[in-house]
C-alpha cells in the first residue's frame, strides 16, 4: 500500500539562483513499511522535496507543477485544518541537528507529553505513552531521561528523543533528513538500526534523506538518486548498488567505497616522531576551573613519503594531537622530534624556521581563509614571512594555483568567490607554498560533498607522489582513512588504541574498539565500484 506518492513535482527557485528549478519533475512513492532513500549532494534539492511534502516550503520556493498524494488522496490545501491535522498526526519529520529540535528550557518528558496533550490524549494515557515510546527508542533509564533537559543529553540520545517525539502519535510516514550526519559512526550505526527496527515493528513508511551511500546500503529498500533537482537514477537498493547505471551514481558510489590502491612504499627514514606525549587543557573561568586530558601518552612515527591516518570519534583527541605536532599547543609532557632533533620546546627564530617544514590544512574551508585578503596574498604570505621577495612569492603562488588545479588568474580574487572544494585547494596551495616536509591535514575533506571529497583526496595523493611530502591525515571517516592511509592510528578518549599498517588493521583489527568502529562504519556491504 502506497503511503506517499509524488508526481512530477517541480519547485521554483528565486530568480538569480544557479538554476531555475530547485526540483524538476520529480516522481516517487513510498509504501507502508518501506524505506526509500533520497540520495544527493548539497544543493541537489533533496530537502526541498521533504519540505514540499511537509508543507514547509518557504514562500520564495513555490510549487510550480506536479502533485503530492498521501494515502491515495491529494494533500489538502496548505494551512487548512485538514492539512495541519494530517501533518501533525500522520506524518513526522526529524532533522540533522536533534538538539535544535528540542526546547532547551523544558524537560524531555514534558516536551513529549505536550505533543500528546495537543492531540487530546488524557493525562494518564499521556504518561503511559511517553514512557512506552522512550522505552521503544532504547534510551537507557527512560524514567530518568524524561526528567532531563536537552543539554544533558548526548547527540545520540537527543536524536533518540526526537525520534520518540516523531513516532509518539504513530505516524504512517516518517521523513528523516540526514538524521545521523552529525553523529559519530558508532552512534550512527545504532540510530540507523533503531529507525530500521521501528519501521519493521510499526510498518512506518520512511523517506530517508542522505548524502552517504554507506548509509543507503545499510537502510534502504529502494533508492532515488538526485542531482541538481532531477532524478538521475532510481531502483531497488540491491540492484542499484550492485550495478549502478548512471555515471553520477557511479561517482558517488566510488567515493563511498574508495579503498585506495595499496602502495608498496617501504618504511623509509623517520621524519617526525612523538614519544609519550600528554596534553592537558585548563577549562573554565575564574571560579570553576577543571582540567581536561586531551591527549594521553600517545607515540607515533611519521615515515618519509608515507601517509599516516589518525582516526577517532569526536572528542578522541585527534585534533589536539595535530596541534601538538604543529607546536600550536605546548605538550604537557613527552617529546616531539623532527629529523632526529628534539623540537618539543623549540622557540624563537629556530621555531620559526621549523614552521616552514610542517604545514597544515584545516577542516573548514570557509573559516580557513581571511575574508579580507585575496587568495593570492594568502598563498604568498608564507614565502614572504620566510624572506621571499614580493615578486618571488607571487610567482610561487601562481605556480601553486596551477598545481592545485586553479588558474593563476585567481590570484586577485577573494575567498567568497570560490566554492568549498576550490577553497580547500587554495588552502592546500597555501600550505605547500613553503615546500613542507610534513603536511598535516585536519579533517580536510569532512566539510565537502562526497564527489568533491574524492577529488580533493585525489589531489592530495597526486601532490604527494609529485612532491614527496609526508602526510598526517586526521579524519573521523574510516572510508577516507582507508582511501588514503599507509599507516593508521586509532584514537579513543585521548589514547592511541591501535596503530600499525593501515591495510593490516582494516583487514584484521586487534582491539575491541577498532573492531566496533569498523563494524559500525556504514556501507560495509557495498561492493567496490570504480568511477566511470
Amino acid at each position: 500500500m502506497t503511503v506517499l506518492t509524488i508526481n512530477g513535482l517541480s519547485v521554483a527557485l528565486p530568480s538569480g539562483g544557479d538554476r531555475a528549478l530547485a526540483v524538476e519533475g520529480v516522481s516517487l512513492s513510498v509504501a507502508k513499511g518501506e524505506t526509500l532513500c533520497l540520495v544527493g549532494e548539497s544543493g541537489s534539492g533533496k530537502s526541498v522535496i521533504a519540505q514540499a511534502v511537509m508543507g514547509m516550503l518557504p514562500p520564495q520556493l513555490p510549487i510550480t507543477a506536479g502533485s503530492i498524494a498521501f494515502d491515495g488522496a491529494p494533500l489538502p490545501a496548505q494551512r487548512s485544518d485538514a492539512f495541519l491535522r494530517l501533518r501533525s498526526v500522520r506524518m513526522a519529520m526529524i532533522f540533522q541537528d536533534a538538539s535544535a529540535s528540542l526546547d532547551p528550557l523544558r524537560r524531555v518528558g514534558d516536551q513529549l507529553e505536550e505533543i500528546a496533550e495537543v492531540h487530546g490524549i488524557d493525562r494518564a494515557a499521556r504518561k503511559r505513552k511517553v514512557a512506552e515510546i522512550l522505552q521503544a527508542v532504547r534510551l537507557p533509564d527512560p524514567a530518568k531521561l524524561a526528567r532531563a533537559y536537552p543539554h544533558q543529553l548526548s547527540g545520540g540520545q537527543a536524536q533518540r528523543v526526537v525520534i520518540a517525539a516523531a513516532l509518539l502519535l504513530d505516524p504512517e510516514l516518517l521523513i528523516a533528513d540526514e538524521p545521523t550526519t552529525a553523529l559519530d559512526v558508532t552512534t550512527q550505526a545504532e540510530i540507523l538500526a533503531l529507525i530500521d527496527d521501528l519501521r519493521r515493528e510499526r510498518g512506518t513508511a520512511v523517506l530517508f534523506i542522505t548524502h552517504d551511500f554507506g548509509v543507503v546500503s545499510d537502510i534502504a529498500d529502494r533508492v532515488v538518486v538526485l542531482r541538481q533537482g532531477e532524478i538521475v537514477e532510481t531502483g531497488a537498493a540491491k540492484t542499484l548498488l550492485a550495478d549502478p547505471q548512471h555515471p553520477y551514481t557511479r561517482t558517488l558510489l566510488a567515493a563511498a567505497t574508495a579503498r585506495g590502491a595499496p602502495r608498496d612504499t617501504e618504511r623509509s627514514d623517520v621524519v617526525m616522531a612523538a614519544q609519550n606525549i600528554h596534553l592537558t587543557y585548563g577549562l573554565g573561568g575564574l571560579f570553576n576551573r577543571r582540567e581536561v586530558e586531551a591527549v594521553k601518552d600517545v607515540s607515533l612515527t611519521l615515515h618519509r613519503g608515507r601517509t599516516t591516518a589518525v582516526v577517532g570519534e569526536s572528542g578522541s583527541g585527534k585534533s589536539s594531537l595535530a596541534r601538538c605536532l604543529l607546536r600550536l599547543e605546548e605538550v604537557t609532557s613527552g617529546t616531539i622530534t623532527f629529523e632526529g632533533r628534539d623540537i618539543t620546546h623549540l622557540h624563537g627564530a629556530e621555531m620559526q624556521a621549523l614552521r616552514k617544514r610542517i604545514q597544515v590544512v584545516l577542516q573548514d574551508p570557509f573559516g580557513a581563509l581571511n575574508p579580507r585578503r585575496t587568495i593570492g596574498s594568502a598563498i604568498a604570505e608564507g614565502p614572504i614571512i620566510h624572506g621571499a621577495s614580493k615578486a618571488e612569492a607571487r610567482a610561487k603562488a601562481e605556480e601553486l594555483l596551477d598545481l592545485v588545479g586553479l588558474t593563476p588568474q585567481a590570484f586577485d580574487r577573494h575567498p567568497h568567490e570560490f566554492s568549498g572544494g576550490q577553497r580547500q585547494r587554495i588552502c592546500i596551495a597555501r600550505a605547500l607554498a613553503l615546500d613542507p616536509d610534513v603536511l598535516i591535514a585536519d579533517e580536510s575533506v569532512s566539510a565537502l560533498d562526497v564527489s568533491i571529497q574524492a577529488q580533493i583526496l585525489d589531489l592530495f595523493r597526486e601532490l604527494q607522489a609529485r612532491l614527496g611530502f609526508t602526510m598526517l591525515f586526521i579524519t573521523h571517516d574510516l572510508r577516507v582513512a582507508a582511501a588514503i592511509a599507509d599507516d593508521l592510528l586509532v584514537m579513543q578518549n585521548g589514547r592511541a588504541v591501535e596503530q600499525g599498517d593501515a591495510a593490516e588493521i582494516f583487514a584484521n583489527p586487534q582491539q575491541p574498539y577498532t573492531q566496533a568502529l569498523l563494524a559500525a562504519a556504514p556501507g560495509k556491504d557495498l561492493p567496490e565500484v570504480s568511477a566511470a
Binding site: L326, R355, Q359, L369, N370, G382
Partner: protein, 273 residues
C-alpha cells in the same frame, strides 16, 4: 545601488556636517567676541538688531557663544571618546591575546569600571582636585572604555579561533603580523560602531557635568555651560536654554542614527546575499 543611504540618515549626516562647520567657523557669523559683555544690551530676545539669537544676562551675544560652546563640546566629545576607544580597545585586545592573569586583571577592571556610578565619581574627582580642562578631558575619556574592552576581547577571542589565524600561525607568522595583518582588520568594525554609539553618550556626559557646574568653567564655555547659565531664566529668557538644548539633542540623535546605520552596514551577517 543596493546600499542606498536612508533619508533620515542623510538628514543626520547633513546636521552633523553643519554642526562641525558651525563649531569651526560660527564665530565669524557675529561681529562680537564671545566674552564681550554689553550691559546695555542684556537679555535681548532673538531677532534684536545686531543680535540674531539674542543676548544673555551679561549682554553677551548668544550666537557667538553657541559657536564657541559647540567647538568645546566637539573637542571634549571627540578627544574623550577617542581616549576611551583607544585605551579600551588596546586593553581588550591585550586581554584576548595574553590570556592568563593579564586577562583576569583586565576583566576585573572592566567589571569594576562598569559598576562605578560615573557621574558621582566625576563629582568627587572634580571637587577634590583643581578643576582643570585637562583633568576634565581625561575623566571624560576614562568613562566608557570598558565597553570597548569587553567588545574587543570577545571579537579577538572569536577571531583567534578562526582557521585562518591557525593557518597563518602555522606558516610561522609573528604575533605582530597575525594581530595587525589578520585579526585587527576583521575586528576593527566592532570598535568603529561602538565609537558612534559612545560619542553621543560622551556629548551628553559633557553637557550634564558642565550643566552641574563641574565641567567646562567660565570664561570658557560649552553647550552645557551655556544651558546652566540660562537655568534661572527659563521662563523669561527661553532662548538661553532652548538653542543649546536643541543643538545637543539633534547632535546626539544624529550621531546615534548614523551609528545604527553603520552597524547594519558593517555587519556581514546582515548583508544582502
Amino acid at each position: 545601488m543596493k546600499n542606498k543611504v536612508p533619508f533620515v540618515v542623510k538628514c543626520a549626516m547633513v546636521f552633523v556636517v553643519l554642526f562641525v562647520l558651525f563649531a569651526l567657523f560660527g564665530q565669524w557669523l557675529s561681529p562680537y567676541e564671545f566674552r564681550e559683555t554689553s550691559l546695555l544690551n542684556r537679555l535681548k530676545p532673538p531677532g534684536t538688531e545686531g543680535y540674531i539669537l539674542g543676548t544673555d544676562a551679561r549682554g553677551r551675544d548668544v550666537l557667538v557663544r553657541l559657536a564657541v560652546g559647540a567647538q568645546i563640546t566637539l573637542i571634549v566629545a571627540l578627544v574623550g571618546t577617542i581616549i576611551g576607544a583607544v585605551l579600551g580597545s588596546l586593553l581588550g585586545i591585550l586581554a584576548a591575546a595574553r590570556r592568563g592573569w593579564t586577562e583576569n586583571v583586565i576583566v576585573a577592571a572592566i567589571d569594576v569600571q562598569a559598576s562605578l556610578p560615573i557621574i558621582i565619581v566625576a563629582l568627587f574627582v572634580l571637587a577634590m582636585f583643581d578643576n582643570s580642562f585637562t583633568l576634565f578631558l581625561l575623566l571624560i575619556g576614562l568613562t566608557g572604555w570598558e565597553v570597548y574592552a569587553r567588545l574587543m576581547r570577545g571579537a579577538v577571542l572569536s577571531a583567534k579561533e578562526h582557521g585562518y589565524v591557525t593557518a597563518v600561525r602555522a606558516l610561522g607568522a609573528s604575533p605582530w603580523r597575525i594581530y595587525l595583518g589578520h585579526i585587527l582588520p576583521n575586528v576593527i568594525s566592532v570598535a568603529l560602531v561602538q565609537f558612534t554609539v559612545n560619542l553621543p553618550l560622551t556629548i551628553l556626559l559633557e553637557t550634564a557635568l558642565s550643566f552641574l557646574g563641574l565641567g567646562v568653567q567660565s570664561p570658557l564655555t560649552s553647550l552645557g555651560q551655556i544651558m546652566s547659565e540660562g537655568r534661572d531664566r527659563l521662563l523669561t529668557a527661553w532662548w538661553l536654554t532652548l538653542f543649546p538644548g536643541a543643538i545637543i539633542f539633534l547632535l546626539a540623535l544624529s550621531v546615534s542614527l548614523i551609528g545604527d546605520w553603520l552597524r547594519d552596514r558593517l555587519d556581514p551577517t546582515l548583508k544582502a546575499r
